[in-house]
Amino acid sequence: MKNLSILFIFIIILGGQIIFAQTNKPLTLDDCIELALKNNQQRAVSQAGEKIAKSRLGQARSAYWPQVTANGLAARLDDEPIFVFPEETESYSIGGVLPQPIVTEVTIPEKTIKLLGKNLFSTSANLMLPLYTGGLRPGLMQQARAGVQVARQNTRRTDQEIIYQVRDLYFGTVLANKLAQIAQKTHTRLSATLELTESLYKKGAGKVKKTDYLKNKIFVKSVRGMQTRLQSQADNARAGLAFYMGLSWETNITLSDSEIPISKTDVSLKQLVDGTLRFNPNWLSLQAGLNAYDGKIREAKSETRPRLALIGNLEYINNNYDKGVVAPQNTRSWQVGLGLEFPLFNGFRTHHKVKEMKARLTQLEHQKILLHEGLATQIKVLHQKLLALQEHLSSAQEALSAAQENHQLTDLGYQADLLEVQDLIEAQTIESIVQAQYHTLCYDHYQTYIQIEKLIGTEIERYLNE
């Protein structure tokens, strides 16, 4: 028993370590997207909306099926229903017997007739199959199908937003980490230099003056402030990403990527606009909206058209009395027939309803043009921004290489006593600044790239298919 307890404690400790190890495993971008798609509440809302729309489509489809109902009744009546036959006096004239017809009056007294017994059991089945609804059913179907389309695009839009946000937050965190590292490295280098300056000013030959030390100190402290701010931004970015993925605030995440990818594209603007019109959820929702209004017009028009339905009825009655209305002949019955309804005049209500729906359709078609132009313009702006950033990035890459080479060479020059310490510090600081600029540009480029993908709506398909 004791051994079991020790084993149990051991398992708990080991298990805890495994869980700890799992939560501390560096997360890839795909891990983060998967977690966010799994935990984000907005996605559940959108998915529920899609289910609602699909159910509505099922409801609309029911109009094509016969409506069959069955009724049953078992009752005990307080009294037996009767039919009172009133007193009736009839005059009769009998001729042919006597030369004069004999006229006589017969009075039948009031008579009570029992209709059925107190115990009644009846069942019936009714059937109604619409044969022609004047376009009502296809109209409703069209609207329901459009509703499903809109709901599906809403889900896609939600997924797209989640994926975009995660990608943005993920590489925003990578950038923040990178900048914090650069700031830390710069600060450490400058602090070491400051220490040397202080040591030389206090104990050295006097070539280094207090003003040199103070100037250096001002610079180091400014960089320290910058480093603290960047470190705090990196922490905040990590916390934001963890929150967005639906993880507890206590979870400390680490990311597996340390570099921001540069996805260069040579796709033309026309291809991007075409892609947007094929995949953008807003565009596809609008198309579905147009279909929905078309369905509404059909529904409205159906109000002026005849409706035809097949009607059937089957009935069985059981009663403890076999006379009256429940005589054997009446206990089993059926009927089949065609029902027709023809609206003749409703004060032009339908006419105006159709006009309203046509106007709404026209309104939406104009909105479609606006959306088309809007999407194309957004794509154009982002495409131009991306191309400019690509150019800028190439220059920044060259500047970074030059800054690195300059630092390396200055370092060598300083080692060989060919250059001064100021040259070295300047080269180190310039390299740090150019590095920070380069990584910020990489992030700007990546962010613009994912904005385009979000607008087109293609990237989500890849993640969802995976």
């Binding site: 830390q184 490295k185 450490t188 280098r189 602090s191 070491a192 230099t193 220490e195 040397l196 040591s199 030389l200 206090k202 104990k203 050295g204 030959a205 006097g206 070539k207 060479l409 370092d411 060598l412 020059g413 300083y414 080692q415 060989a416 006593d417 060919l418 250059l419 310490v421 070295l424």
Partner: protein, 317 residues
């Protein structure tokens, strides 16, 4: 087994565990603070061309950083640096236990190793993995291809640190070719602390030759590629290590391994790397006897050749 025995055994186990934990903590605490003070000395030749006070302040900072990094709790370390004008004074200070550690030039170490018991732990140097190479440069247009052609001409020796090793190498090279030693061979010999002050006069044909560290010449070419067009190397030395840090033997027994580790790993932090850069140290290595091979060979060859030359002079007289 009754319950009292179980309790007793459990208590024993807990006690044992507690002892292990406590002893580990003691060990850790000892490792956290392995050294609280260090007295280091070096001769003025080690810092040739640099102000003594500046060198002392820089060395103090360097050592304090290395030792403080080893003291995990970052407790301050008292570092005392003394600069000696003469090697004999330094030897006496070690013998009197006034110094725990010394930084020496390889030639200084070889000259005193029999007088005092010192254990080298670290060598530091610039240049390639082999050490610092020295080169003799001439201008291509002057048509000076060999060292012999430099007889009665001007030379500038431009070395940042140790002057003795390049001087010794130059002397040995001349003796090898049965030529007089530097002072007699050249018309004039000037010493400059900065390499550029040696290279540029040769490039501008104001001086016939210069003797500089090879890495400095290569850096100068990278900074100014025209130099490679104008200048040529006519002689190159083997690689020599720049300085050695040694511990007094009894001090080494106590703190040798920790100090070696502290100094070896200083460049593993960003702060340490920066100090490396600022103090112009390219490499720092755990000392091995092989590091002294080149300088020993040079010294031996110089002594042999000097003796031969002396004999020749006597025979000639």
């Amino acid at each position: 087994m009754n319950s009292s025995k179980i309790t007793f055994l459990t208590t024993c186990r807990w006690f044992l565990c507690a002892m292990i934990v406590l002893s580990t903590n003691q060990h850790t605490r000892a490792a956290e603070l392995f050294l609280s003070s260090l007295r280091l000395g070096f001769t003025i030749d080690t810092i040739s061309g640099v102000d003594v006070n500046d060198a002392r302040a820089a060395q103090e900072l360097w050592l304090r950083t290395a030792l403080q990094n080893m003291n995990k709790n970052n407790e301050p370390v008292d570092v005392q640096i003394t600069v000696y004008s003469d090697l004999s004074l330094l030897i006496n200070a070690v013998k009197e236990h006034e110094l725990d550690a010394v930084t020496l030039l390889p030639l200084e170490y070889l000259s005193l190793q029999e007088d005092v018991s010192l254990i080298p732990i670290i060598t530091s140097y610039s240049g390639d993995s082999d050490g610092e190479h020295y080169v003799v440069l001439t201008h291509r247009e002057n048509n000076i291809q060999t060292i012999e052609q430099l007889q009665s001409r001007n030379i500038i020796v431009g070395t940042r640190g140790d002057k003795k090793v390049p001087q010794l190498w130059l002397d040995t090279m001349l003796l090898e070719k049965s030529l007089p030693e530097t002072k007699a061979f050249f018309k004039s010999v000037k010493y400059m602390r900065k390499t550029t002050q040696a290279i540029l006069p040769v490039f501008f044909k104001q001086v016939d030759a210069c003797l500089v560290p090879k890495t400095d010449f290569e850096t100068a070419i990278k900074l100014n590629p025209q130099l490679s067009v104008g200048l040529q190397i006519i002689a190159e030395s083997p690689g020599f290590k720049s300085t050695m840090t040694c511990l007094r033997s009894d001090f080494h027994d106590q703190h040798g391994s920790h100090l070696t580790q502290a100094m070896e790993t200083i460049n593993q932090t960003e702060q340490g790397k920066q100090f490396f850069t600022l103090f112009r140290v390219s490499r720092i290595l755990r000392f091995e006897e092989v590091h002294l091979d080149n300088i020993k060979n040079l010294l031996q060859k110089n002594q042999t050749l000097s003796q031969k030359s002396a004999h020749r002079q006597i025979e000639g007289q």
